[in-house]
């Protein structure tokens, strides 16, 4: 595991961020930020580009250790990045169990790949996968370790709309089976409303808006409560609603 500055999570918490401050070259990106994700909670983090969402994710992933304040996470944290980042020189199965301490790497790899609908692809080279398939393999790599905290960094951003919808269903199903705490960083409001238990908006390094989304899944896009939340979030993000249907 990557070294962490502090493991301050108390029981029942997947992530605990307290008074975190982060600046690049004097420009403040995260400003005295607090965030708690409880075990098994699905949190979506929205924000305009440059709002600091990816920075926060990197702090939680332990990829950036220079910051003020405390960042605590569950023992095992995994990330699905925006790009699948499969090592091109390892077969898909070997990518999934990369660095995993197990007696049966092949078995673990193929069962994890089966969960994401890629059974039989363990011996394929990553270059032969489509974008959606590669992203699913990347999810398998994250979930095979049963993380306490799963960080999703706009993992569906580069996919076409149909593939993205399939991926949303897949992520929900996997989350319901494994129950990690999830932080989904996204700029897609509908995606956040479809998936998350709670949505946050990050503005200028602080959480400027948040709301629970207490609706049963699967959720209907046209549900009036979702549409209300959508309008609120878009306003918070500074999107002018006049002119959009």
């Amino acid at each position: 595991m990557a070294p962490r500055t502090a493991t301050l999570t108390t029981a029942g918490e997947a992530a605990a961020v307290r008074g975190v401050h982060k600046a690049f070259d004097g420009r403040t990106v995260l400003d005295d930020l607090d965030l708690t994700i409880v075990e098994g909670e699905f949190v979506a983090l929205l924000g305009r580009s440059g709002s600091g969402k990816s920075t926060l994710l990197r702090l939680l992933a332990g990829l950036d250790l220079e910051h003020g304040g405390d960042v605590g996470t569950a023992d095992s944290v995994m990330v699905a990045f925006q790009e699948p980042r499969l090592l091109p020189w390892k077969k898909v199965g070997a990518n999934v169990v990369l660095g995993l301490d197990t007696d049966d790497p092949r078995g673990r790899a193929s069962s994890a790949l089966g969960e994401v609908g890629l059974a039989g692809h363990a011996d394929a080279w990553p270059a032969t996968l489509s974008g959606g398939e590669a992203q699913r393999a990347s999810l398998a790599r994250a979930l095979v370790r049963d993380p306490g905290l799963l960080l999703l960094d706009e993992p569906f951003g580069a996919l076409d709309a149909l593939t993205r919808a399939t991926m949303h269903d897949l992520v929900l199903r996997l989350w319901e089976q494994h129950r990690p705490g999830v932080l989904l960083v996204t700029h897609d409001v509908d995606e956040a409303l479809q998936l998350a238990d709670r949505a946050l908006v990050l503005t200028d390094g602080r959480i400027s808006w948040e709301s629970a989304i207490d609706l049963e899944r699967p959720r209907h896009r046209q549900d009036p409560r979702l549409l209300d939340l959508r309008t609120e979030i878009l306003a918070e993000l500074g999107v002018d609603m006049n002119g959009t249907p």
Binding site: M1, A2, A61, G62, L63, V77, M78, V79, F81, E83, R85, L87, P88, W89, K90, L98, G99, L100, D123, A124, W125, P126, A127, T128, S130, G131, G132, E133, R141, R145, D160, L162, T163, T166
Partner: protein, 286 residues
């Protein structure tokens, strides 16, 4: 105001791109009406050259004393093979190259890993390596003779230097060129330093390492040929030099051909290795 009327299309086949969310692209096709000439055509011009050479020698246009014809050279080669001169000479030269190459390749790789992975290594090791790189290696010969005498050592040492430099430069560039995002993956999945080296750094640098290997094999043979010009009493260089003294142009030319065939053979070995080690690049299933 836009009015959007949706009309159902009568039984037209679905647009192909709307039904395939995750399909692979169509197979690459060559433009219609064009076929590449077959690869065997590549033999035409070398064979034509060889025939012209043979004909020129036969009619006396090319003086036998300066450049004997292909058939004479082939006969000479057969003779050298039969009288037991050729194989020991090849053995000696090959041995010099292989020893020098082995030492140089190991040193070059270790140096590249040390400089590629740590700032300390880079600051301490890279400057002298860059200095060595700018040094004309064949200018070292007089120095090597003074240091190591005229035995095997100066020849092998010259090959070592010739191998270390291209291998080091390419492997180092390869290690530094490994995508930083893969290093992040290594950190996230908890690969340690050794694991990262084994699973991320070395395979990522392998394409460059193999390029360096081919370049360094080429310069190994070059260094050997130059080294074998001085004070040798065995090997291919000795065979060529003694032939010169007896004005046996045919042996000189034959020796050169053997050198290039040996170079070609070792190069093909690395290319074979390349094909085996880099299958992932072409995305082939085994």
């Amino acid at each position: 105001m836009l009015s959007l009327s949706t009309r159902r299309r009568p039984l037209s086949p679905p647009a192909p791109d709307s039904t395939v969310p995750e399909g692979r692209g169509p197979a690459r096709r060559r433009p219609a009406g064009r076929t590449d000439p077959p690869a065997r055509h590549r033999w035409i011009s070398p064979l034509a050259l060889l025939l012209t050479w043979q004909a020129g020698s036969a009619v006396g246009l090319i003086p036998e004393r300066l450049l004997p014809g292909p058939s004479t050279i082939a006969a000479t080669g057969l003779e050298l093979l039969r009288d037991g001169t050729l194989l020991p000479a090849i053995g000696t030269s090959l041995q010099r190259v292989l020893i020098g190459f082995g030492i140089g390749a190991a040193a070059g790789t270790v140096l590249a890993v040390a400089t590629g992975l740590s700032r300390w290594g880079e600051n301490l090791l890279d400057p002298p390596m860059q200095m060595l790189r700018t040094l004309p290696i064949f200018g070292l010969i007089p120095l090597f003779i003074l240091w190591f005498g005229i035995g095997e050592l100066p020849k092998v040492a010259l090959v070592v230097i010739a191998v270390v430099i291209p291998l080091y430069v390419n492997t180092y560039a390869g290690i530094r060129g490994v995508d930083a995002r893969f290093h992040e993956v290594a950190r996230v999945v908890g690969l340690g330093r050794a694991g990262t080296l084994r699973h991320v750094v070395l395979p990522g640098a392998l394409p460059n390492l193999l390029v360096g290997l081919r370049l360094s094999l080429g310069s190994a043979w070059l260094a050997l040929i130059v080294a074998e010009q001085i004070n040798v009493d065995e090997g291919l260089g000795f065979m060529i030099n003694s032939a010169r003294e007896f004005l046996r142009t045919d042996i000189v030319v034959f020796g050169l051909i053997v050198y290039s065939l040996l170079g070609l053979a070792t190069d093909s070995l690395v290319r074979l290795l390349e094909r085996k080690a880099l299958v992932w690049r072409r995305g082939l299933r085994p």
